[in-house]
Subunit: 409 residues, 2 copies
Amino acid sequence: MNKSEFRIQNSESSLGPGPKGFRAAGVAAGIKATGGLDLGALMCDGPTVAAGVTTRNLFASAPVLVCRERLAKRGPIRGVIVNSGCSNACMGAAGLRDAHEMTRLAERAAGTQQGEFLVASTGVIGRPLPMEKIRAATPRLMESLRPDGWEDFARSIMTTDLVPKISRRSFQVDGADFVVMGVAKGSGMIHPNMGTMLAFVATDFPIFYRHAASALLRSVVHRTFNCTTVDGDTSTSDTVILLAKGGARKGFGGGSEGGKIFKAALLEVATDLSKAIARDGEGATKLVTVEVEGATAEIKARIVAHSIARSNLVKTALFGNDPNWGRICCAAGYAGVAFDTNEFSLKLQGKEVMRHGMPTGFDARTLSAALKSPEVLLQAKIGSGKGAACVWTCDLTYDYVKINAEYTT
Amino acid sequence: MNKSEFRIQNSESSLGPGPKGFRAAGVAAGIKATGGLDLGALMCDGPTVAAGVTTRNLFASAPVLVCRERLAKRGPIRGVIVNSGCSNACMGAAGLRDAHEMTRLAERAAGTQQGEFLVASTGVIGRPLPMEKIRAATPRLMESLRPDGWEDFARSIMTTDLVPKISRRSFQVDGADFVVMGVAKGSGMIHPNMGTMLAFVATDFPIFYRHAASALLRSVVHRTFNCTTVDGDTSTSDTVILLAKGGARKGFGGGSEGGKIFKAALLEVATDLSKAIARDGEGATKLVTVEVEGATAEIKARIVAHSIARSNLVKTALFGNDPNWGRICCAAGYAGVAFDTNEFSLKLQGKEVMRHGMPTGFDARTLSAALKSPEVLLQAKIGSGKGAACVWTCDLTYDYVKINAEYTT
């Protein structure tokens, strides 16, 4: 990895250039009542090798259905058009018609063939897309696509997010420079079950095989977006799209050296974005990392980590800087994974509070002070196996309740 | 059912007499910092037929382990001693020693054989029981046992509960009068997985067979306490105990007519207590009933109902009187149960908001006004099967966060 950059703050500091051949944009189409950016696009100058991972929610939104259909057809993909403010979910045939029309509007303005754009929508469920506004704004959106338009794109997909989420890594393979860059949105209705919320990642690294891109994306999503939870609610719109610039004669094939370097960069970008989503969880005051080790299998460690990360009691205690480790044991104990509680050990902020199933005795005041931090680390050891997992979440606060009690009405 | 009474409010109105032969009490032992009642007991004049259902949490508390052991031994059970303010969970061998000593203190004061008392504790996890206080207070507790001591007993087991929870039903079998009476506590860390929180039910109906009492209790718990969720957190202390006065030459055996009448009364008492727990959920402003029908099996309906009832987004929307039905669809859609979303219909407060997977169109203002109620009913139909289930929960409010961010420190 030659260079690594990560930005989630809204600053004018320099984020390096995006992957060669890609342009991005975001405009205000009037979908959001606030008048903010709400229609975005990401496009490649030529065909890409595309891969996607979408929600497992039965009420998958219309844009999710369109993405699945187009990715399954394996035709060339040139880009994606996205709106915020309305998720176009639970709208039946009308929703599908609108999602298809959104892609056609983008394709027409971009001069591509039909079927070459993907689409995503995020916002309130069960309301029709305001198509007149989208029809009116799409030509302007596509005209404003620029190589440095990534921040506008990131802003245009935000809903309750407080900050745009962008991550970039550059790397070298065989002396040539490449970039992988991604944006994500997500703040509430965040719980992994395949993709979590929207993320779009582009690279100029020439992935040749579609199935390799797809396998690689799934592997990375499993370790990143699917390790993020804000409130345990799996959205109807979850979508992660990877667009790799095509046109290469040969490129990354399976386990090549270049492919490994690319995968490492993609993993870092996806990790950045996943942590940014947890950190920016609705109402959150802190990023919480839950590490579980010693399980007899990775999946068991994941289940225990998710159980802890999803517990409202753990999350409210962390909001209150309360070293209430009993709640963490409790959440591990009901996870549904068998382990010997006499082997259970737990650390909060590096301080061991439980060893082999018994409290160690610690100064609650000192530990509470240590929890007053924007980043909190919980580490549980449930046995002597090799299975380990890490999940990112946030605390549960008054503001989560406020945001979600006042969202639509 | 001749007569049905239910009281959760603290009023001096008359609750009918308890089951014959049972006495109850609650005293202040100084375990709670507030000085409130915190040590209670329920005792029968003779041996009982006892049944119990306890938590599936791996970190089952020491009292839970003692109850399991004694119920498995099938010796005569005379009563139960309970404290609030400290759960005696995650305390290893010392916790087990303390739980055993609590039973011996009660047995000695009551003059029963060793092993004839059950024990339960509820409160903070991971702190030692203050045994000196319990030693000092138990003789006084046992002396104060009275046939009309049920309310003191109900108060002595409260933690964050705002109201004591008592329910009573009287019924006749073959011309004789019987009573089933129960108390429960529970407000946070409430999510079903076998027993949920503490509940103690006594009856003077002569159940003869222990296995019949046990099967009957499990069946009722499955439909009542296990249908209650406040925050998705399954406690380490969950215990439901049924004590049926013994001494009968013959009594309820399996499917006898009297047994059926008793079971109906027990089901009503357990339903009352379960709804009382949900209504008194930490910070709750309303009782929420989630009914799911049309599933191909009861377990599938239960899973969908629990998924809706556990969703933080649904629960915060209800707190805000927000008819945000999309969140209910979303929670049903990620429950992990396959159904045809085109068959999904949903009613809020009796108003159909979604029919066959499409919004019906409704006046949000009117529906929001209807949601401003201390009881809210959500009814989902997920197909045309015969599987149905009902789950009780509450809304998620600022006060839930406040209570749980400030609990131990």
